[in-house]
């Protein structure tokens, strides 16, 4: 289908734009990393002209080249997967990050999935008993949940559940003494370590349930619901196939926006739980001014989001038959 190709083109365009923005940030902005090498690192070196080579080595940008050439070089090497050399780890950025990506994806996909599943269920419950005490109570709960930043929830849980009551580990991806591998003890430890980060993202379920509630109530007023009721369809069919499906569809947009913001939130979360994912490396790089690693992590996170959104968008057609025939807004 035509729009799928265009959607793909849009993803490619975004990646290109991100790499270009990165180049601009690394090379052109005031206080950019290249200048950093030349003005800060350079004078400390025995041979200040080495600074140029360092910049080339770490950042893939040769400051002596004219801009267009430098840009093309940068673009080519980035697209070939060469994100430069990390300064603190002295390894290629790609290698540093490769070990981190699966962990971030693991935690984030669970966080997104669970918070939406819970949010949608709660929203449906609220709509079903609209106006009742259950509804009022859950609405208040969802409103409060939405008001709390996820990192506040994370800190509170960390203080009480980990430090005070030792229910969960205080941080890390798995118990350090374990040998990684597909064995039960290790997997259990991984899950155990992931619970708090996943739960922290639960604040997103508040907003999701509120919008699910609104959508469901709107669907309840639709003509086709009236027909379905008069036709005598069973309550389950009506609840799931009529209200549920139609109320969830408009939330797709919200889901896609939260993919982006949750991945962004990973930076904070991984820092709080000392969880070595992409965000943790990004922050580490920032604190130690490891520019290549910082830019690399930024690009990787962005590309992960672009791909996630692409997949989400392309699968949308499976649940909504109207996709592709009307001008539905997509991200």
């Amino acid at each position: 289908m035509n729009w799928k190709i265009r959607r793909l083109g849009q993803a490619v365009f975004t990646v290109w734009a991100v790499v270009t923005i990165s180049f601009a940030m690394v090379r052109l902005m005031p206080g950019n990393p290249v200048d950093y090498f030349i003005t800060i690192v350079g004078p400390d070196l025995a041979d200040p002209s080495q600074a140029y080579e360092l910049a080339e080595l770490y950042l893939n940008i040769n400051p002596e080249e004219p801009l267009p050439v430098a840009y093309v070089d940068y673009m080519t090497s980035t697209l070939q997967g060469d994100l430069g050399q990390s300064m603190i780890y002295n390894e290629p950025v790609t290698e540093v990050l490769a070990g981190a990506i699966p962990w971030t994806l693991f935690v984030m996909s669970w966080a997104i999935f669970l918070s939406f599943a819970v949010g949608i269920s709660l929203g449906a419950i609220m709509a079903y008993w609209e106006g009742s005490k259950v509804d009022v109570g859950l609405t208040a709960y969802a409103t409060i949940l939405t008001s709390i930043p996820f990192y506040v929830l994370a800190l509170v849980m960390l203080i009480y559940l980990s430090y005070r009551w030792s229910v969960f580990p205080v941080g890390g991806r798995a118990a350090a003494e374990l040998e990684p591998g597909f064995h039960w003890v290790y997997i259990k430890s991984v899950v155990h370590h992931a619970i708090l980060p996943v739960l922290s993202m639960f604040v997103a379920s508040g907003a999701a349930s509120l919008s699910m509630r609104g959508n469901s109530i709107r669907v309840l007023g639709e003509d086709y619901l009236r027909v379905a009721r008069l036709c005598g369809l069973s309550d389950t069919t009506i609840a799931v196939q009529y209200v549920g499906r139609n109320a969830i569809l408009p939330m797709y947009t919200g889901l896609m926006i939260s993919i982006g913001s949750m991945f962004g939130g990973a930076v904070v979360l991984e820092q709080i739980f000392q969880y070595r994912g992409m965000g943790w490396y990004l922050l580490n790089a920032v604190n130690q001014r490891d520019y290549p690693l910082m830019m690399g992590a930024f690009m990787m996170i962005t590309i992960a989001v672009v791909i996630a959104l692409l997949i989400a968008d392309l699968t949308y057609g499976r649940i909504d038959p109207r996709a592709g025939t009307e001008d539905r807004e997509a991200f």
Partner: protein
């Protein structure tokens, strides 16, 4: 009420549904609203009962009550008894939840008017049928067979339709599917609430014809609820008229139409535009329907009734027997029946029938607006890189020439999707044509806009001279602005010399002029505080304040109640005379077109799939249409004659559905539906030529207008009415 309607009707008849003293009420901020006020009615087995009422008369409530399906806050009281063909009578209001679930759809089913949104958008049509069959423990395979038969009877390609999603089908198809869905459990009675209101004339008429067939084939009792009397005139056996949430007249359709006994019914019939009634006899009904919270005491019609006396104001009229089977709730029904024109209050001076002003040819004065070979091809819109729509070209208007003169009136008629609105917008410069040219007094409109060539009339002036009145009065006024702000906008733009108080005075004057009173109250209102008719008047004033030369009125009355339509049309005609404007009306309704064109001495132009197929003066188009499509439209326009039985057999169209406009048929575009089509029509395209018989002006695009043409020797295309 001592005597109920039921007491008066003949009990020997086989009754399928007995309604007595049914009342629906609910609480509102302003008080308790009664939207069905103690109505009683017997529905007889095997009949088609037409229930006629304007919007706000409680007719939908009556429909809902028959299924005990009144929506929440409404409460239904009274007694409703259903007599099944076999078995015990059922008291509707004492059914258990489960019994009621079974009663609905198995015994009595319903068809709504909102077919566009009556299907779950994410499920295929088939699942709608399967779900319904399952919910009632019917055999799914046999049920689907039945569904296919029903769909076939309704001229649908059953297999294709069942495998479609709702959004892939047109409104007319969905409406027919809804009828099939309502019949899939083989109910005894079918309640149809405005089942054709949203459809085109031809589709409406075709569906009505199908309903008759289906009724006899399945032994159905049908309650057909509508606001459109002519529609049911030929269909219904008995006719009931609702006014102010009560039945005010009931009787055999022929009697009610020929000798209406209630002043309201008489007024309603008079106000309904049709093709035959002489214009002098058409009159608007004054006043408006009552508010459900404040139903007038005594006869609820007395504030509007010209014959009202003290008795009427105090005593609620009981049903009076006019005839064996004909009753009316009016104290003075006998006088009403005798009075030749009981509702005429105004004088004849309000209905000047003008003569056609000028020929549509080279010898005429310079036209005001002239369209030359206009073409509009739409590309589906796209936004950013992400829009999902596939680009597709639709030729909305294809090679149209037309001239509009000063003080001229042209009415464009056609089915939806035929391009009449697009053409209208091109004519007033609201839409840029993709081909051909539009000129205003000889100046090309879009050249003026782009400052191309020597511009003799600046675009600003053209802009001001060409105005528009939209179809939906609701959306043509900005809901966030008060009437004052809405009407000030054109004055601010075009009369900067006026200050705020001048503007207000002018607006008040105009409001008063069109009968909105007291105007000081109205200018502070938001649009949603106005009635449909008031909104439409505001839009009319808004365009009039610009002092335009030509106004496009796009279905300007179709959103209004029947009783308001004639009044609104009269107002427009009056303003046209007062201010020397030309009008380009758009209508899907031949009766309205006739009314407007005849009163102003204008022309009617019939459009089909982007082309004008016939154009001419009223009497020629209405009385002697040359083009088969115009003839079909005329066939589809119902009139008040109850003997006018409709049958699909003499339907002048071969298929009900309009071809896909993005892929119009070759040759004569009408050949896929034309009953007179011959092989040559598939390949050759007819030009719009002078139809040479008789006086008046008339041109048609059909080979039959040529005396000697290959057409006459060509083989007829023979296919039965079918789905393409």
């Amino acid at each position: 009420m001592t005597m109920t309607t039921t007491d008066l009707t003949d009990r020997s008849e086989d009754v399928i549904m007995e309604v007595s003293n049914a009342r629906v009420s609910f609480g509102m901020e302003r008080g308790r609203a009664r939207v069905l006020n103690d109505v009683s009615m017997d529905v007889r087995r095997g009949e088609i009962l037409g229930v006629m009422g304007e919007s706000g008369s409680g007719k939908s409530m009556f429909a809902d009550a028959l299924l005990d399906a009144v929506v929440d806050p409404g409460v239904l009281q009274g007694e409703l008894t259903y007599y099944p063909g076999d078995g015990e009578p059922i008291d509707l209001l004492s059914l258990s939840e489960e019994e009621r679930r079974r009663y609905r759809w198995e015994d009595v089913a319903m068809v709504f008017q909102g077919a566009m949104s009556s299907f779950n958008p994410v499920r295929k049509i088939r699942t709608h049928f399967v779900d319904t069959l399952n919910a009632h423990d019917y055999d799914v395979d046999r049920g689907l067979e039945r569904a296919k038969d029903l769909l076939g009877d309704l001229y649908l390609d059953a297999d294709r339709v069942l495998d479609s999603y709702p959004h892939e089908l047109s409104g007319g198809m969905k409406q027919r599917i809804l009828i099939a869905l309502s019949l899939v459990l083989d109910p005894e009675m079918l309640v149809m609430d405005e089942p054709t209101a949203a459809l085109d004339l031809l589709m409406q008429r075709s569906i009505i014809a199908l309903i008759e067939e289906i009724q006899s084939k399945h032994d159905l009792t049908i309650v057909f609820i509508t606001h459109d009397i002519p529609l049911v005139a030929g269909l219904a056996d008995r006719l009931a008229v609702l006014y102010a949430f009560e039945f005010i007249e009931l009787g055999p359709a022929d009697d009610v139409l020929a000798e209406p006994a209630h002043p309201y019914t008489r007024a309603l019939l008079r106000t309904t535009p049709n093709l035959e009634t002489p214009l002098e006899e058409m009159r608007p009904i004054e006043g408006s329907s009552p508010d459900p919270v404040n139903i007038p005491s005594g006869c609820s019609y007395h504030p509007r009734c010209p014959m009202a006396d003290d008795q009427c104001r105090e005593v609620d009229p009981e049903p009076y027997r006019v005839d064996d089977d004909h009753i009316a709730h009016c104290h003075h029904w006998d006088e009403a029946i005798e009075e030749e024109s009981p509702v005429a209050v105004g004088g004849d001076d309000r209905t000047p029938t003008r003569a056609y002003v000028g020929p549509d040819g080279e010898d005429a004065e310079d036209p005001l607006v002239s369209l030359d070979d206009v073409e509009v091809h739409f590309e589906q819109k796209s936004g950013g890189l992400l829009s999902r729509a596939e680009p597709e070209t639709v030729a909305a208007v294809d090679g149209v020439d037309i001239d509009i003169h000063e003080n001229d009136t042209v009415v464009l008629v056609g089915e939806s999707g035929c391009g009449k609105t697009t053409l209208g917008k091109v004519a007033v410069g609201a839409q840029r044509p993709t081909g051909g040219s539009v000129s205003y007094r000889g100046q090309d409109v879009w050249d003026a806009k782009d400052m191309l060539g020597g511009v003799s009339i600046p675009f600003e002036e053209i802009r001001r001279a060409l105005q528009i009145i939209h179809q939906d009065p609701g959306s043509s006024l900005n809901s966030h602005r008060r009437v004052r702000a809405i009407l000030e906008t054109p004055l601010r733009r075009w009369f900067p010399e006026l200050d705020g108080n001048d503007r207000i005075q002018r607006i008040l004057g105009m409001l008063e002029y069109v009968g909105i009173s007291p105007p000081e109250d109205y200018i502070e209102r938001y649009p949603h505080q106005l009635s449909g008719g008031e909104k439409q008047r505001i839009t009319l004033i808004r365009s009039m304040l610009m002092d335009p030369e030509l106004i496009l009125a796009d279905e300007a009355v179709s959103a209004l109640d029947v009783s308001l339509r004639v009044e609104m049309m009269d107002l427009m005609i009056e303003l046209q005379e007062q201010f020397d404007t030309s009008f380009l009306f758009i209508s899907h309704n031949l009766s309205n077109a006739r009314y407007l064109a005849e009163k102003t001495g204008g022309r009617i132009a019939v459009m089909y799939l982007g082309e004008i197929v016939e154009i001419g003066t009223v009497d020629r188009i209405i009385n002697d249409p040359q083009h088969p499509y115009t003839q079909a439209l005329k066939w589809a326009t119902p009139d008040l004659d109850p003997d006018d039985e409709i049958e699909t057999a003499d339907s002048p169209i071969r298929t009900i559905d309009i071809p896909d406009p993005s892929n119009p048929p070759s040759g004569c575009r009408y050949h896929t539906r034309c009953a007179k089509a011959r092989e040559v029509c598939r390949v050759e395209t007819p030009e719009l030529i002078e139809a040479d018989e008789g006086p008046g002006h008339q041109r048609a695009a059909c080979f039959r207008a040529y005396d000697d043409h290959a057409y006459w020797n060509s083989e007829p295309i023979v296919e039965g009415p079918s789905e393409e």
